[in-house]
């Protein structure tokens, strides 16, 4: 079973307007690499040159911020839900 990844509006041009796509991988890093294979160009929008998630993007696994876990090495179960969400909101 593939992991469901929620794609934010600014990236949906790359996913042919799909708000949720499937991806496979045991970690966020693997999930992002698989996304890149299916939707070329998406990874550089999410990660900077060093491979770290960009300052203004938050990634959540089942609602938990990966920065409270192991960052992009955070493990992802096959039934997990991954959300990529712009960081600029609230307050």
């Amino acid at each position: 079973m593939a992991t469901k990844v929620r794609i934010p509006a600014p990236l949906r041009k790359l996913t042919k307007d799909q708000a949720v796509v499937d991806s496979n991988g045991h970690t966020i890093q693997e999930i992002l690499s698989e996304l890149e294979k299916n939707y070329p160009g998406i990874k550089e929008r999410i990660c900077d040159e060093t491979g770290q998630v960009r300052r203004f993007i938050n990634i959540f696994v089942n609602g938990e911020d990966i920065r409270f876990k192991e960052g992009i090495q955070t493990k992802v179960g096959s039934d997990a839900e991954v959300s990529i969400i712009p960081a600029i909101a609230g307050g």
Binding site: R6, G63, P86, A89, G90
Partner: protein
Amino acid sequence: MKKIKALKCKECGQESPPIAKHVCEFCFGPLEVVYDYEWISSVISKEKIASRPHNLWRYWELLPVEGQQVLSLNEGFTPFWKSRNLGKFLGLKNLYIKNDAVNPTFSFKDRVVSVALTRSRELGFDVVACASTGNLAGAVAAYGAVGCFKTFVFIPADLEMGKVVGAGVYDPIIVGIKGNYDEVNRLCAEVADIFHWAFVNVNIRPYYAEGSKTLGFEVAEQLGWRAPDHVVVPVASGSLLTKIYKGMSEFHQLGLIPELHTKISAAQAQGCAPVVTAIKEHSEIIKPVIPKTIAKSIAIGNPADGYYAVKTVEKTHGVGEWATDEEIIEGIRLLAKTEGVFTETAGGTTIAVLKKLKESGKIASDETVVAFITGNGFKTQESVQDHISKPYIIEPRLNEFRELYESLVKSKQVEEHNFLKNPAYQIK
């Protein structure tokens, strides 16, 4: 004539049309309103501003709306005065208090909401919503009701009762989330992505945040059209701090104040201090935290404008300091007893940090300092109720009062109850 030219990404500079959108399509950076300053400078003047009603719309030219029909409950132009006792107590000769706790719904959030809902109406929305730590919920609920919007407010389910009631009275739909504010915020970002509503602090955020500039405008105007030397601002998302500075910068740029040298200092609760930690560590990275503090109104562990707040503090040579929950409660009591203002925990944080900065020499005794009090203590009574004076309960009989009075005199509580006269407190 349109004064809003575009929305521009603060990071990559990419411009887009001024619609309901808060994030850059390209780099996810925050969008900011671009004004036609040439036009603004040709029409604005001190005299014009001073001739207008005492609310924040006196600065209409510098706010991100196009029409004159604004949704106002007379927010802003709140009291500002030279400290009566607190300055003396702390050893500050020129301390000023900006009391934004007396806005229509008793916090500075009325500023941002008045602007956000006016703009939302211009953009054609009939549903408004927000993610709130409490104060914003009340403001959106009130302005939403008066503006005849359908209103949804999302709050953490464990909010202080005063804030839940303070929103509920306006009859919005209140959604209590089993989680902290950061989780409410994440959910709202997802909801806003699907439901085409005006989320004031999500897709309307570039306009909303501009409302906070008016605190900078007002302080400069109320000081007699000049900038203070130093200000202390409570920090949650970091937006208020950056916009107070932006307001003063715009006044300077337009020649409404002669010069700008203001140091902007940030106050947070120790149990939720991602911005102050980054300032202290000289780090560009804001490490999110899981909040653990009584100061719920500023308990944002993952602050959207944290990065820009740090940059503003550094640029202006301000400092960052935190206060423990005990110090926050003491700050609330101190402001009440010295200036007569009952503030909530965010204000207690500001006062506690102000005291620490004076004690550590980061604020000099002759600086013109402004403490921003952004919310009202009647909404967060839980935080202080066990730390303040309680009634002595007696029967309605004169002799009972005599007995009580004599016991109070004996225990010296009558002479010492006013702490400013209490010799234990050294007034500097």
